[in-house]
């Protein structure tokens, strides 16, 4: 099973997801967050709380599948994010652009 962060996180980085992760699976760089595939338990708690629906679970749509390798490779080397942080500047505009209220 797989749960991954994908492109909508770029330029938004709301980090609401980290508050509901029961196992500390989120890691982040300045750009976006990633899910450590070894730690994630696929509980699905993060998916509905992302304001821009950046997180996908199985079945992963074809156009998002390349994000699996990105989450797998980048997450472990980055710091764990445990607390909600301020979103990226311009995140609210990005959210509207993406069609979310």
């Amino acid at each position: 099973m797989t749960t991954i962060v994908t492109d909508n996180c770029q330029g938004s980085r709301f980090t609401d997801c980290v508050t509901v992760c029961p196992v500390h699976a989120f890691h982040g760089d300045d750009e976006m967050l990633y899910i450590d595939q070894e730690v994630c338990i696929d509980c699905g708690a993060c998916i509905p709380v992302c304001p821009v629906q950046a997180i996908y679970e199985e079945p992963i749509p074809e156009d998002k599948q390349h994000w699996i390798a990105i989450n797998e490779s980048r997450a472990p080397g980055l710091p764990v994010i445990l607390k909600k942080q301020d979103p990226y500047p311009g995140a609210e505009e990005r959210k509207k652009e993406l069609g979310f209220a």
Binding site: V20, P22, D42, A45
Partner: protein, 486 residues
């Protein structure tokens, strides 16, 4: 007097309950510049709440948060006090004398009633007790379930209802290597159940199960999921609910239901039927459950606020076993305000309030006892972060008297005959359960009675050693007699 939050006057926090919300509260409390000491009270000898005794045995990944709780428990500023029932072994007032803040994370262990005639009939049970029973919870060890009937009904369509259906429909092969209680496997192995009905009072767009759980009903070795096409009709508000971009999950669940409806005729030994728009009006039978009287419903109202209304039509479904799975409910603790309608401790942002809505100083709630029995395991983390944020904002306004913490309570507990279980004690119980499971190819064989857990902490002299000692004594006596004949 040293300021509160320093080593000389640490913040003393008592957490009542050791499930996820309790541990996430401890985690949040430790994330502070102040010195905080946490004592966690749990009425069972074993910690971890519903992650241990609620999550289904065939969902082992969902138990992995326990690894995080173990790390938190091993923190030097954390202390576990198991086998202590707050409200019985200790009063809330006694706790308040020894701690600056109390956080109630005691969850919801009771269940909501249907409130219909016949609910008490033999064969009528709650999901709460069935789940506790198959998960080896000591409170439910002696429940009995008669699985000799061919038809079982589950009222409710949340994830707990899906768990109950799945466990009733799985083969022994699919269950024997899990941490399911062995007494449950023995009973399930004799099951003659062939048809399980999962019944909800509203429509397919409103069911509370998540699509991941629902999907599993279509992946069972010897059970076919059955959804009649007619059950999937949507009224316009329901269609709108499913098309709502913010309800991606609802759409996925509906697709799974459609895939079930599209399957060819069932061929396997068992069938799991999913039915909508039906409410139980009464349980009927002579001395025991024989059938359930169901009302047919229609939906009324605006999207996301649709309610079920009886149409006047009824039908009867023959069944010998019924589980109501319509929600867990919190239980009152003497000394804490209780909202009996919702089954929670009344609160605002986690601050417990009295009947007039005034926050009670130093009293907090988190998890299901705060917000009701909703959400996933991780939901409790956000919940506890919020409660502890409120608590941390309140700290400057609290009494700064030095508090004794558990050291102030241990003599009292001892005088009351309570044998407190430490975290190190629990680790012995834990190791023993894992050892017992090894030979059976199970992750663990749980102890299902409190006295068995307590014995695992201080095992009595093993029989073999006793026999050797006795034999040695006898040998000494015999040789003594041989050397000193009378």
């Amino acid at each position: 007097m040293a300021p509160l939050g320093t080593a000389q006057n640490p913040v003393r926090a008592a957490i009542v309950g050791s499930g996820p919300s309790g541990f996430y509260a401890a985690e949040a409390l430790f994330d502070s510049d102040q010195v905080v000491l946490v004592d966690m009270f749990e009425r069972l000898p074993s910690p971890f709440g519903l992650v241990r005794s609620g999550v289904a045995p065939d969902h082992p990944k969902l138990k992995q948060p326990i690894q995080l709780y173990q790390k938190i428990a091993e923190s030097p500023n954390f202390r576990f006090l198991g086998n202590v029932t707050v409200g019985r072994d200790l009063s809330v007032e006694e706790l308040q004398r020894c701690y600056h803040v109390l956080i109630f994370a005691c969850g919801a262990e009771a269940d909501r009633r249907l409130g219909i005639p016949g609910e008490h009939l033999a064969g009528s049970h709650t999901a709460t007790e069935f789940v506790g029973w198959y998960n080896g919870h000591p409170d439910y060890r002696d429940r009995e379930f008669d699985l000799s009937h061919e038809t079982a009904v589950v009222i409710g369509q949340g994830n707990v209802a899906v768990d109950v259906c799945r466990i009733l429909c799985k083969t022994m092969d699919e269950l024997v290597h899990t941490d399911i209680a062995s007494h449950a496997i023995e009973v399930l192995a004799q099951s003659r159940i062939r048809d399980v009905y999962m019944i909800g009072r509203r429509g397919p767009a409103q069911a509370k199960f998540t699509h991941q759980e629902l999907r599993e009903l279509g992946q069972l070795k010897d059970c076919d999921p059955i959804v009649a096409r007619g059950e999937l009709e949507l009224n316009p508000p329901s269609r709108e609910e499913l098309l709502d971009k913010n309800n991606r999950a609802g759409g996925k669940s509906y697709e799974v239901l459609q895939s079930f409806a599209a399957r060819s005729a069932p061929t396997r030994s068992r069938r799991c039927h999913i039915r909508f728009l039906r409410s139980p009006l009464a349980l009927e039978g002579e001395g025991r459950l024989e059938r359930v009287l169901l009302a047919r419903n229609r939906l009324e109202g605006t999207p996301s606020q649709q309610v079920a209304r009886e149409t006047g039509e009824v039908e009867r479904l023959e069944c010998g076993l019924l589980f109501r799975s319509i929600g867990y409910r919190g239980t009152a603790i003497s000394g804490v305000p209780f909202d009996a309608r919702q089954g929670i401790f009344p609160n605002r942002d986690g601050r417990i309030v009295d009947g007039q809505g005034n926050a009670l100083p130093g009293m907090y709630a988190t998890g299901w006892i705060k917000r009701g029995p909703t959400g996933l395991i991780g939901t409790n983390r956000a919940d506890s972060l919020a409660t502890v944020a409120a608590l941390q904002a309140d700290l400057p306004h609290l009494s700064t008297t030095v508090k004794a913490g558990a050291d102030g309570l241990l003599p009292l507990l001892q005088s009351r005959g309570v044998r407190v279980v430490s975290y190190a004690d629990w680790q012995k119980i834990d190791a023993a359960e894992v050892r017992r499971g090894e030979s059976a190819g199970k992750p663990r064989e749980k102890f299902t009675r409190v006295h068995e857990m307590m014995q695992a902490i201080e095992p009595p002299t093993p029989p073999r050693r006793l026999a050797v000692e006795l034999a040695g004594t006898a040998l000494a006596m015999v040789s003594n007699l041989a050397e000193n004949p009378r």
